[in-house]
């Protein structure tokens, strides 16, 4: 289903033709095929992003012994947070997950991810229409891309 080479080529062609909006259009193939943070933010609908300190990483570990299940906890203090995406830079497909947060839901999620190796992990937060990124390195002592 997801042959990475072909899918990436198709996706980059598609995104070159027309940038996709994010919400309510089904699974965002272009974003999940993106290879860099820049590509991914663009595919999510952003024209750029700024660093932020208004994201806290809760109980996210600095060192993960088991790369098969790294529990990542991200919470945004940015007003009008609309979505949160997790990008694991050194995974074969860096965009791991994207969450849409409607009003009334706390802009905070906890999920477990596979990490192939030690990597920077980015939380990409869309708040009031703009994109912000907070980055944290998670060291993996035993990779889990099996």
């Amino acid at each position: 289903m997801l042959k990475l080479g072909g899918a990436a080529t198709l996706a980059s062609m598609a995104s070159a033709l027309r940038p996709r909006a994010t919400a309510a259009q089904g699974w965002n193939q272009a974003a999940f095929s993106g290879k860099s943070l820049d590509e991914i933010v663009k595919a999510l609908g952003g024209s750029g992003y700024a660093p932020t300190k208004a994201v806290s990483w809760g109980a996210t570990p600095d060192i993960a012994e088991n790369g098969a299940a790294v529990q990542v906890s991200v919470s945004s203090a940015l007003p009008r947070t609309q979505s949160i995406a997790i990008v694991i830079e050194k995974n074969p497909g860096p965009l791991a997950a994207q969450f849409e947060v409607p009003p009334g839901t706390d802009p905070a999620v906890v999920t477990r991810f596979k990490m192939a190796q030690t990597s920077n992990v980015h939380a990409v937060v869309k708040a009031d229409g703009k994109y912000f990124v907070s980055t944290r390195e998670i060291r993996v002592t035993f990779g889990g891309c099996g």
């Binding site: 289903m1 997801l2 990475l4 089904g26 699974w27 965002n28 974003a31 999940f32 098969a68 299940a69 790294v70 529990q71 694991i88 995974n91 074969p92 497909g93 965009l95 791991a96 997950a97 994207q98 969450f99 849409e100 947060v101 409607p102 009334g104 839901t105 706390d106 905070a108 999620v109 906890v110 999920t111 477990r112 991810f113 596979k114 990490m115 192939a116 889990g144 891309c145 099996g146």
Partner: protein, 103 residues
């Protein structure tokens, strides 16, 4: 179809804490089987959580979410007895929907 999703929804002060454990292989498409052949990717792509029918969280996932995915979040406006429904669609088009009530 897939196996049942375990959902716990409980009041934490005036908010509802939702903890979800789905049953899914979340095959990454990177792994090789005993014969050295690549196991095709098969993973949950879309997740939706609803409170009495109203969306409280929706997600798009790639194959990097761990096997038997765990998800936790909190929302306001729920009360004991209200329904929480969680559904997903995977990369082969399989779907699963389960519900619980807030305790």
């Amino acid at each position: 179809m897939g196996d049942p999703t375990r959902i716990r929804a409980s009041m934490q002060g005036d908010k509802v804490l939702v903890r979800i454990l789905m049953t899914h292989e979340m095959e990454s498409g990177q792994r090789k089987d005993a014969d050295g052949k690549l196991v095709p990717a098969h993973f949950i792509r879309e997740v939706s959580a609803r409170h009495n029918g109203r969306p409280v969280l929706s997600a798009q996932w790639g194959p990097a979410v761990s096997k038997n995915p765990f998800l936790q979040f909190t929302f306001a406006g729920g009360k004991p007895g209200d329904k929480i429904q969680v559904s997903w669609v995977d990369s082969k088009g399989d779907t699963r929907s389960d519900e619980t009530t807030i305790s």
